[in-house]
């Protein structure tokens, strides 16, 4: 039951046969590349069991290095999002203000922090905390990582909030006004609840971005995050760097895939209830990663014409 595709006609018997041919050829090519990589790894001894053994034989790498690192990563990401959300909401609503000067200030802040790389924000947060505060050294890295992430994510979330509110059909505002609801009632009863459900998937996606960005803290600020645990593992088990990277990458991928899946599930679940006539896709420059296209849902048509 193939839904009609914009790219392909419904395949006939020849097309089906051709596709089988391509499948076979492609699998051969991929197989050859995989074989080359694996044999190189074997030759260089990277797949030798002793390099991998510590991860399964209860040597304590998990409890001593990986889990504490993971815990720090999760704490930093969670803190960053929790702080960035209200800031982003304020900035986003400020950008919709009727007063030009409020819009201008909020706009400048948002555009500035979206232009500066997170890494540079983190590095300077650290310098500033060190010079001008009495924060304990061991929290300094965490605070700097979180600060960089908050500044950046608040700006991105501001755009998400703004887009979320703007994506609602104009008819919702009009119907509410026509019933005699006041401006604040309109915002709190009608617009925000709908905007937030529309935005939830985007917010979860942003969490993925944040989680990945914490790794900058490990590489640059000696924040003892998940990625940073590689150094300690390899110091104990010789040069099993590749094994360590593979395990750590797998953890990131698993968590982020789970979050991405959750975002998608949420989106589908909300879409079912909302079944908007036409979703208006909104593109927001995110991350260190990039224009994650966010389907903001919400109707495209405005009730009036």
């Amino acid at each position: 039951m193939s839904a009609p595709s914009v790219l392909y006609d419904a395949p006939g018997p020849k097309a089906k046969a051709r596709n089988h041919g391509y499948t076979a050829a492609f699998i051969v090519v991929i197989g050859a590349i995989a074989w080359y990589v694996i044999s190189e790894l074997l030759d260089s001894g990277q797949l030798d069991w002793p390099r991998w053994e510590p991860f399964v034989n209860g040597s304590g790498v998990w409890t001593a290095y990986i889990l504490p690192g993971l815990q720090n990563t999760l704490i930093a990401a969670a803190l960053a999002i929790v702080i960035a959300l209200p800031l982003g909401a304020i900035l986003g609503i400020a950008r919709l203000s009727q007063h030009l000067w409020i819009r201008a200030i909020a706009g400048t802040i948002v555009e500035f922090f979206r232009a500066v790389p997170v890494l540079i924000l983190m590095v300077f947060a650290r310098v500033i905390y060190f010079e001008f505060t009495t924060l304990p050294e061991e929290n300094l890295a965490l605070f700097s990582v979180v600060t960089g992430l908050v500044l950046y994510n608040a700006s991105v979330l501001a755009e998400v909030f703004r887009a979320g509110i703007l994506s609602l059909p104009k008819g919702q505002t009009e119907a509410a006004s026509a019933l005699g609801l006041r401006k604040t009632q309109l915002m709190t009863l009608i617009l925000l609840p709908q905007a937030i459900t529309v935005m939830l998937p985007a917010i979860v996606s942003q969490l993925v971005v944040t989680l990945k960005d914490t790794a900058l803290g490990g590489a640059i600020l000696s924040f003892p995050d998940l990625l940073d645990s590689v150094g300690k593992i390899t110091a104990n088990f010789g040069s099993n760097v590749i094994a360590s990277f593979v395990i750590i990458a797998a953890i990131y991928i698993m968590i982020n895939s789970l979050l991405t899946w959750f975002a998608g599930w949420l989106e589908r679940k909300l879409a079912k209830r909302k079944k908007a006539p036409k979703a208006k896709p909104i593109h927001i420059a995110t991350e260190t990663g990039a224009g994650a296209s966010m389907d903001m849902g919400g109707g495209g048509d405005s009730g009036s014409d």
């Binding site: 304590g60 001593a64 504490p68 003892p224 040069s239 760097v241």
Partner: protein, 268 residues
């Protein structure tokens, strides 16, 4: 147990009473060590701490009246050691801490308690690299922020190709595959790796500099300086120093345990 997790305000005493008083009264100390340097300072997967610097720290603590159970270990990464001391978050640092003039502006040193020299690490069985001059046209690895590799290029081998990494483990993968010919840093660190990976690497054994490694602590705590001086002197005098060196470095291919440095345990 992961002591790194508890935030411990144990360090604060430095400003008030000094660490000698603290050790005496509270029976507690917070000490900065390396977590990722085999032979020097290493946090093992079962939560233990080992290495020459760690044992020296234990000895000093004991001399100050603090048992192992009273020690809180803290990771002291290279760029953070001064900060940790200045902010009184550790009582002292024992982490292959070179006593450089730049650092003396911010922290006090007691030492040297050992004097490694810069040396080279190569694949076991390799015979062509016998001293730094042989590195011309070869690929040499060191770790970011250390000046050791640059000095080889400046002084011994003009056409060496330099590569910098974040950790020495990364250098080792390059030596394993043959991409890199050698790694350079203090011979004790190299010996730590050689010993941890028996039969894989060897130290060339021709140190071409002399580093002074000391215990770092607050500039303000004169009493502590003396106490640590006494502890280190006792370490040498009792022959314990030699035992610790052998415990951690004996058997590393190409590395010979040197004599204890001349007893001159306080900074100028």
């Amino acid at each position: 147990g992961d002591r790194n997790a508890d935030s411990g305000n144990s360090g604060n005493s430095g400003a008030s009473g000094g660490i000698v008083a603290k050790a005496k009264n509270d029976k507690k100390l917070t000490i900065g060590i390396k977590y990722d340097q085999p032979g020097i300072g290493l946090k093992t997967p079962d939560g233990k701490y080992e290495g020459f610097d760690v044992d020296v720290a234990r000895y000093i603590a004991k001399e100050l009246g603090v048992e192992e159970s009273g020690i809180t270990w803290k990771e002291a990464k290279t760029p953070e050691r001064e900060n940790l001391i200045e902010k009184n978050e550790v009582d002292f640092v024992s982490a292959s801490y070179s006593m450089s003039d730049a650092r003396r502006k911010r922290v006090a040193f007691v030492g040297p308690y050992y004097q490694p020299g810069q040396d080279l690490l190569v694949k076991a069985g390799r015979t062509d690299i016998t001293d730094p001059e042989k590195l011309n046209g070869k690929k040499l690895c060191s770790v970011k922020g250390s000046t050791s590799a640059q000095s080889v290029a400046d002084k011994y081998a003009k056409t060496v190709q330099l590569q910098e990494y974040t950790t020495y483990s990364e250098c080792l993968t390059g030596i394993d595959s043959g991409l890199l010919d050698a790694a350079t840093t203090d011979n004790t660190i190299l010996a730590g790796y050689a010993k941890a990976n028996p039969g894989k690497y060897k130290v060339v054994g021709r140190p071409f500099t002399t580093e002074n490694i000391g215990i770092g602590l607050s500039l303000k705590d004169a009493e502590a300086k003396t106490a640590i001086y006494n502890a280190l002197k006792k370490l040498q005098d009792t022959g314990e120093w030699k035992k610790l060196m052998e415990k951690h470095f004996a058997g590393a291919e190409g590395y010979t345990i040197p004599a204890a440095p001349p007893a001159q345990f306080t900074d100028k």
